[in-house]
């Protein structure tokens, strides 16, 4: 046996040295590319007179926006235009997410229905929607439907309360009357007492086993108490209905056609995906679970509520959140039909006018990244708390 120590092989063959070398190489490559890019950018931007600061933020915008949730005029700054666009994007998300969820769950349940025809109808819906480009749907709703509606003078109307024309959908705009304070107060009391009753009912069930009809009582409270206020003091809300004035409708709550098209398109499109997620989630719960629940004597409703749906919701939640994120990202298609969302206003008009390309794109992408990150973090927290343990 050779008693001399083995010759040390070249340090180039050392695993750790190699790994370090690869990483340094990669980082160097990235650094070169990034540095080269920045250098070129600075040169090009100087040559074309493109601003390199954020100074444009406080310059006057000079353009109008037809939907603004905060005060805005063409004398406002680009910065303000940014906030208007951001709020409009969030508004679309806020409206479309609950509507798409509702429609998606309805269609998903229809997909699972034992009635063959209903399940096939739902299948046709999801198949068509998932294989049609969203842009085509938006263009269809906007160009073919909404823009070809008649003018304000020949509006289609529902009982002369709701009006539909090519300037938009006009709904009654609620305003509060004096008794509204009592009404809202009663509504709050009703909700609090319904929740209270539910908690008390649970406590009582724990102690005595008797089950209280909490759902019915809650419904009765939430409907009944505010109804008392209406009976005593009349309807607490008035409605401002749109009226024809000259060539246009004035008053009421106007929903511009761009927004209507975007909402219709996004909701019907995303609902199809949500329906498939709901269906997959429910089917993924093993059939043995509902059999075991039935074998224990739980009837169908209880079996669904206590055993199947809690498990299905755990499976449904992650892809569902991903669809919510898609709604926010897909709302950027607003730029094709002129809805004034963040991309249309900021990465569109503002970028064109100021030529501050790098700054504008950076800010826009940062906003969406922040939203994605926030949702991902919330989802991780949810998973940590509710994921099935031991698996």
């Amino acid at each position: 046996m050779d008693s001399a120590p083995a010759k040390r092989s070249s340090w180039l063959n050392d695993q750790r040295v190699r790994e370090l070398a690869y990483q340094i190489l990669l980082l160097a490559l990235i650094a070169v590319v990034v540095w080269g890019g920045i250098y070129n950018a600075v040169v090009n931007m100087r040559a074309r007179g493109i601003p390199m600061s954020f100074g444009f933020w406080n310059d006057v915008a000079g353009f109008d926006i037809n939907l603004h949730l905060i005060n805005y005029s063409n004398l406002s700054t680009y910065g303000r235009a940014f906030w208007v666009g951001l709020l409009n994007t969030l508004l679309i998300g806020l409206i479309c997410i609950p509507l798409a969820t509702l429609l998606g769950f309805v269609i998903g349940v229809a997909r699972l229905s034992p009635n063959w025809l209903l399940s096939r109808f739902a299948l046709v819906y999801t198949s068509v929607m998932r294989n049609t480009p969203l842009l085509l749907l938006l263009l269809f709703w906007y160009n073919a439907v909404l823009k070809s509606l008649p003018g304000p003078r020949q509006s289609i109307s529902l009982d002369d309360v709701v009006f539909l024309n090519n300037r938009g959908l006009y709904l009654p705009m609620p305003f509060a009357r004096p008794s509204a304070v009592w009404f809202l107060g009663m509504a709050v009391v009703a909700i609090v007492s319904a929740v209270g009753f539910h908690v008390w009912g649970r406590w009582r069930q724990d102690r005595t086993g008797a089950q209280m009809p909490t759902a019915l009582v809650a419904a009765a409270l939430i409907v009944g108490l505010p109804a008392l206020v209406i009976a005593a003091a009349g309807v607490p809300f008035g409605f401002d209905i749109a009226r024809l004035s000259g060539f246009n409708l004035k008053g009421g709550l106007q929903i511009i056609p761009e927004m209507a098209a975007l909402v219709f398109g996004l909701v019907t499109f995303t609902a199809a995906f949500i329906a498939e997620i709901v269906r997959a989630g429910v089917l993924a719960v093993p059939f043995g679970q509902s059999e075991a629940a039935g074998a224990l004597g739980l009837h169908h409703g209880l079996s669904m509520r206590l055993v199947v749906i809690p498990q299905a919701m755990r499976l449904i939640t992650p892809p569902l959140t991903s669809q919510y994120l898609n709604i926010v990202k897909n709302s950027s298609l607003a730029v094709f039909i002129g809805y004034p969302d963040l991309v249309q206003i900021f990465a569109g008009t503002v970028l064109n006018q100021t030529q501050a390309t790098v700054q504008v794109m950076a800010i826009t992408m940062a906003v969406y990244l922040a939203i994605s990150l926030a949702v991902a973090t919330a989802l991780n927290a949810f998973n940590a708390r509710y994921a099935l343990k031991g698996q």
């Binding site: 990235i30 025809l117 209903l118 294989n131 480009p133 070809s148 298609l333 094709f336 790098v358």
Partner: protein, 374 residues
């Protein structure tokens, strides 16, 4: 029979099930009429179909105008589709403004591409590795020469601004897949790497691209790319959205491939390492072929999504099929109330057939694979 012991003397005969419990009647009873609610739903659905379907069918067929030279006939008969419009515009919808005499080049490129794709997707095809090389390496070069033109080969050059229609939609989607698949594989391997810098770079890239809307990537490619490269390299106007598509698709492809790599199981890696294979041969010969076959349905689904996303490139000035349709609809010769609906309906049918067909194929692969495993 005796309560405690029993031995069967004669086998019980097989009998036919009672009438109402099997066959068409039984199926109808459980699936259509099992309860009052179910029955009313069935009747409602049948009524709906009976009302709508004949109307739709008539609009599309019996009341439609199938041939005309301008919009007059369609303006007269507004209760049917104006398919004559689609027929008249078909060349533009297919090729955009690509010069008429050179259109054969587009057809040839598409035919070769289709053949290569069939070769690659047919699971049991011989020598698929050759097909992969041809598709990912040789075909792009060939396509570039044929489509763009090159005086070396005696082909007149055709500016990319003239390209349009179905041709551009297919081109964009295929280019997207061809380049995003290798890039996605690299990103997926990078994300699973044990080297922290590599993993970080991959994660940052993937999460950044997946976290922003596709339109912003297109804007970035269109507006920022010219800024970050020297003045003389100004990228072609079609190349910019193509770059955006490749980047966007690569991030999603990376996640698909990563799923496949994860589901492969440690056993494969361990067997390869025990045989003495180093990282590159192990990945190239053992891991990737299996992982990619595993996620083939997912890759096809990505392709479908990509094909639908190509509709967005019109925002940066490229003319895809939908944009071509939009342009065609504006033609004053054909103006009329039914033109827009006809155009959009045709576009919808086109996308649906293409995407639904690919989706069925992907489902078919999964079924075949599931059978093979059982």
């Amino acid at each position: 029979m005796d309560a405690l012991t029993y031995v069967r003397k004669a086998p019980a005969p097989e009998e036919a099930p009672p009438l109402l419990s099997s066959g068409a009647l039984a199926w109808a009873r459980t699936n259509l009429f099992s309860s009052i609610g179910s029955t009313s739903v069935t009747l409602g659905c049948v009524a709906l179909v009976a009302y709508l379907l004949p109307q739709l069918a008539a609009w599309a067929t019996t009341r439609a105008i199938w041939s005309a030279s301008d919009g007059a006939a369609c303006r007269q008969h507004q209760d049917g589709a104006c398919w004559a419009f689609v027929v008249a515009k078909w060349d533009y919808l297919r090729f955009g403004s690509y010069p008429g005499a050179e259109r054969w080049r587009v057809d040839v490129t598409e035919a070769i591409g289709a053949a290569l794709i069939v070769w690659l997707l047919w699971i049991n095809a011989p020598r698929r590795a050759w097909g992969a090389f041809l598709f990912f390496v040789a075909y792009p070069i060939l396509a570039l020469i044929l489509l763009r033109g090159s005086s070396w080969f005696g082909l007149t050059s055709v500016d990319t601004q003239l390209w349009g229609g179905i041709f551009v939609s297919l081109l964009t989607a295929v280019v997207g897949i061809v380049f995003s698949l290798p890039l996605g594989v690299l990103l997926a391997l990078g994300r699973r790497s044990s080297l922290p810098a590599v993993r970080l770079a991959s994660v940052v890239f993937i999460e950044f691209v997946r976290g922003v809307p596709f339109i912003t990537i297109l804007f970035m490619a269109n507006n920022l790319l010219p800024l970050f490269v020297p003045e003389t390299w100004t990228p072609d106007r079609l190349l910019r959205p193509l770059a955006g598509i490749i980047i966007f698709s690569a991030a999603y492809m990376a996640e698909e491939v990563r799923g496949g790599l994860q589901s492969l199981g440690r056993g494969q890696y361990e067997a390869a390492m025990a045989l003495g294979l180093k990282y590159a041969p192990m990945t190239g010969l053992i891991v990737l072929p299996q992982a990619l076959t595993l996620v083939l349905p997912g890759i096809v689904n990505n392709f479908i999504g990509l094909f639908m996303d190509t509709t967005l490139i019109s925002i940066v000035g490229a003319t895809d099929f939908l944009e071509a349709m939009n342009n065609a609809i504006k033609d004053p010769v054909w103006a009329g109330p039914t033109i827009m609906v006809t155009g959009y309906a045709f576009a919808g049918i086109f996308y649906f057939i293409f995407c639904f067909g690919m989706a069925r194929y992907s489902a078919h692969i999964e079924k075949v694979r599931a059978k093979g495993r059982m």
